[in-house]
Amino acid sequence: MSSKALSHVRICDFTGQLAGAGATRTLAAFGAEVIRVEDPVRQGRWDILRGTGPFKDDRRGIEYSGSFNNTNVEKKGITLNLRTERGRELLSELVKVSDVVSENFAAGVMERLGFGYEALKAIKPDIIYVSNCGFGHTGPYRKWKTWGPIVQAVSGLTFTSGLPDEPPAGWGYSYMDHTGGYYMTIAILMALVHKSRTGEGQWVDMSCTEAGASLNGPAVLDFTVNGRKLRRPGSPNSNRNEWPAMAPHGIYPSRGDDRWIAIACRSDDEWAKLAGLIDRDWSRAPHLAELAGRRDHEDELDALVASFTRLHEEFDLAERIRKLGIPATAVQRPGERIDGDPNTSAWGLWPTVEHSAMGEVRVDGLPVHLSKTDWSIERGAPCLGEHNDEVLGGLLGVSASELEALRDEGVI
């Protein structure tokens, strides 16, 4: 098949940051024509990733951001000053030929720009409009603002990551920017499926905190059915496993500074094998032979397992444990999993893109392969207005002389 999976889909994209731009990134990798619309007056800096690190070399500025590049691969970029009448007209023209309008502004911003759902629908009756903000467009918190860590806090995900008698550890990155983006991608695709069958568009109002709160199902049901709260003494301990119970199950120190190994013993049989490998008197103790005993003495068990693991190098030990059929792994650092792990390299997980200003840069790939219409990521993120001529001229038919004038007038 020659064309890419979504080459028939065009997205008029106002998203930024990871929570929004991450969503249209996946669609672009599958071939959708994603056209980023940015504000020429603020040089696209509404998206805080424009201009922030990491940087490949000494060059700084809005065209050199490694994070912006990673999040916007394979997209096109245009500039439109929506404070001007011609800017708004051109946006309307773009909406007319788009399938989807996507954004992750605070609730109400598109409305204020004059492009809320009703206005979009008046321009293009079957438009799909997907908005993604912290609390959605209705409800008492609709005007409140969030970042990824705040979404994680309010949705229960920060709380569920941590060790007993310590504050929440939370997530050391914006898990819900990634995952909110995934839900946004799913929402766009589901709305496209519905449209392809019925011809009908719609508005999907995403509240990222709701998306996050939907990821704690069993814990929520344990409360609504059994009345058991996760906020109770000794809970949570997210390196252990309750559902199903496993022991030993955790992240243990290995030899060296800040080196760790994760081990998950799924059964008494696996424990017997691991106990044989450990080969100490304690590992053969009868009170640890069965799961119930190991759970009753889990603090003691973890301390003993740690006393063994800290004598060993974690990659080597993990391999010896896996050879027994027991899940184990080094807690891999970025360099180890990116440049030293045969699974990610054989997968082609780190493609190199060509960015117009930065040159060649490696980026995240996709963890899927489709047998007939696979993804591809070759082009870096667009520079500000990089595709003005192609999109405004080629797609919307604005003449070269008018484009020149629009530049002079600050419309683009």
């Binding site: 098949m1 979504l6 889909v9 990491p54 209705t138 918190y141 603002k145 860590p149 569920t160 990551s161 060790l163 504050p167 550890a169 997530w171 050391g172 990155y173 990634h178 995952t179 799913i186 709305a191 499926v193 719609q202 508005w203 999907v204 905190t209 709160a213 704690n216 199902g217 069993p218 814990a219 929520v220 049901l221 409360f223 609504t224 059915v225 709260k229 906020r231 997210s238 390196n239 559902w243 199903p244 992240i251 760790w260 799924r266 899940p327 184990a328 792994t329 807690v331 891999q332 650092r333 970025p334 999993r337 699974n343 054989a346 997968w347 997980l349 780190w350 963890p367 489709l370 219409t373």
Partner: protein, 432 residues
């Protein structure tokens, strides 16, 4: 009776081979209207023996884990280790659009149920295989769990505490499985749009370890771009250099996330107003610094540590937030701050989210009818579709609940159906 609203995935038929790793993908499709048929062995899927259980009674019909991950699905039992069961599965797949599974690599091929085999019974079928390391490749046969996927795939390295004698932390809730399932659904729907346009089906290989790897934000791209290794910190983003704390204990002992500290003039003005509203100006005489910040046109953050006044204003903003938090319960801190335009977050436990007024107002807690227990409250929609709303169609299926209706449609008679059901439901525990 009011007709339910149309569903986005109405008419889509999915056969899911029960496995705890893939169950969430089936739920995402089923709650949007797809007809998802989960196929279990006659003794029941392992997922039915996952705690927690209703009243802690271990029973394959009382697993809350099963309940949550299998809403809106139909359930049938087939023994695919028996040729008659495999025949019936092929007949079932012939009626489907998707076949989704998470068996260990090689198992289905050995049973002649590999994607290529199934394509013969349904040429435009979309098959999704989700495995810890992909269905082939150098690590595909390694054992794995959610813990080892998140520990080997990058997320755990990023999470934990400032004190690095404490281990890295795996976030709770089987998020490694969830991330894999998100990619399974994104790519499956993409393939569906391709099939809508071209009539062609295909196979999708989902690699959970790879999914974790590309879900670490700067963890990956800082290394890829500049060779930097992020280091974990308590309750905030991992960083190549230490950053300020952003998680704070409030008066009630609970925690809140203070987000990004005040940086803009209007934010300093807002914090100053908050200090005064709480009557804290005597305890916090530096409120004048906040007001100076509020009156500035612009605050150049790059001057922190260089310009005395900017440094003092910035420090006062942080100190004021800490002081206010020490005076208020976490929820009040969150709500008052947000009302004043300062992005903050209360750190809720999962159960606390369910009674938050905003979540209640938007209808996030939803009620599902369980005949024997009455109404049970579940977490609701991750997105609000205007025309085709998310909806739990029904509670998770009991073991073999839909054998008669689903298998009869395949042309099987009562005796064949009874024969296939094999062992009576739930008479012996499933092997784990």
């Amino acid at each position: 009776m009011i007709e339910p609203a149309p569903a986005a995935l109405a008419g889509l038929r999915v056969v899911e081979l029960a496995h705890e790793r893939i169950a969430f993908a089936g739920k995402l499709l089923a709650d949007m209207g797809a007809c998802v048929i989960v196929v279990e062995p006659p003794r029941g899927a392992a997922g039915r023996w996952l705690p927690p259980f209703v009243n802690d009674e271990v029973d394959p019909e009382r697993s809350l884990n099963w309940w949550h991950y299998n809403t809106s699905k139909l359930g049938v039992t087939l023994d695919i280790d028996d040729e008659r069961g495999r025949d019936a599965l092929r007949k079932l797949v012939a009626t489907a659009d998707f076949f989704i599974e998470s068996e260990d690599p090689g198992r289905l091929a050995a049973l002649s149920l590999a994607p290529g085999d199934l394509e013969e019974v349904k040429p435009d079928l979309i098959t999704i295989s989700m495995t810890p390391f992909g269905s082939s490749g150098p690590r595909c046969d390694e054992p794995a769990t959610d813990l080892t996927i998140l520990a080997g795939g990058g997320p755990a390295w990023m999470c934990g505490y400032d004190d690095h004698t404490l281990p890295p932390v795996r976030g709770g809730g089987n998020q490694g499985y969830h991330t894999g399932c998100h990619f399974a659904v994104m790519s499956g729907l993409t393939a569906l749009l391709v099939r809508d346009a071209t009539g062609v089906g295909q196979h999708i290989d989902v690699n959970m370890h790879a999914a974790a790897n590309v879900t670490t934000e700067a963890g990956s791209y800082a290394w890829l771009v500049s060779g930097d290794t992020m280091q974990r910190q308590t309750g905030r983003h991992a960083s190549s250099g230490a950053t300020m704390e952003s998680q704070i204990q409030c008066r009630d002992g609970r925690y809140a996330n203070t987000g990004v500290p005040p940086r803009q003039p209007k934010e300093f003005a807002a914090v100053a107003g908050w200090v005064r509203a709480l009557g804290l100006e005597e305890e916090f005489p530096e409120v004048f610094l906040l007001e100076m910040g509020g009156q500035r046109e612009f605050i150049d953050l790059t001057m922190i540590g260089k310009d005395e006044e900017v440094t003092a204003i910035f420090g006062a903003g942080r100190d004021a937030m800490n002081l206010i938090a020490s005076k208020l319960p976490a929820y009040e801190f969150f709500a008052q701050g947000q009302e004043r335009g300062i992005p903050l977050g209360v750190i809720y436990s999962p159960e606390e989210v369910m009674s938050d007024p905003h979540f209640e107002d938007r209808g996030f807690p939803v009620v599902v009818d369980h005949e024997e227990l009455g109404e049970v409250v579940y977490p609701g929609a991750p997105y609000k579709f205007g025309e085709t709303p998310w909806r739990i169609q029904r509670r998770a299926p009991r073991l073999g609940e839909h054998n008669a209706v689903v298998l009869r449609d395949l042309g099987l008679d009562e005796r064949e159906i009874a024969d296939l059901a094999g062992t009576a439901p739930g008479t012996e525990p499933a092997a784990r």
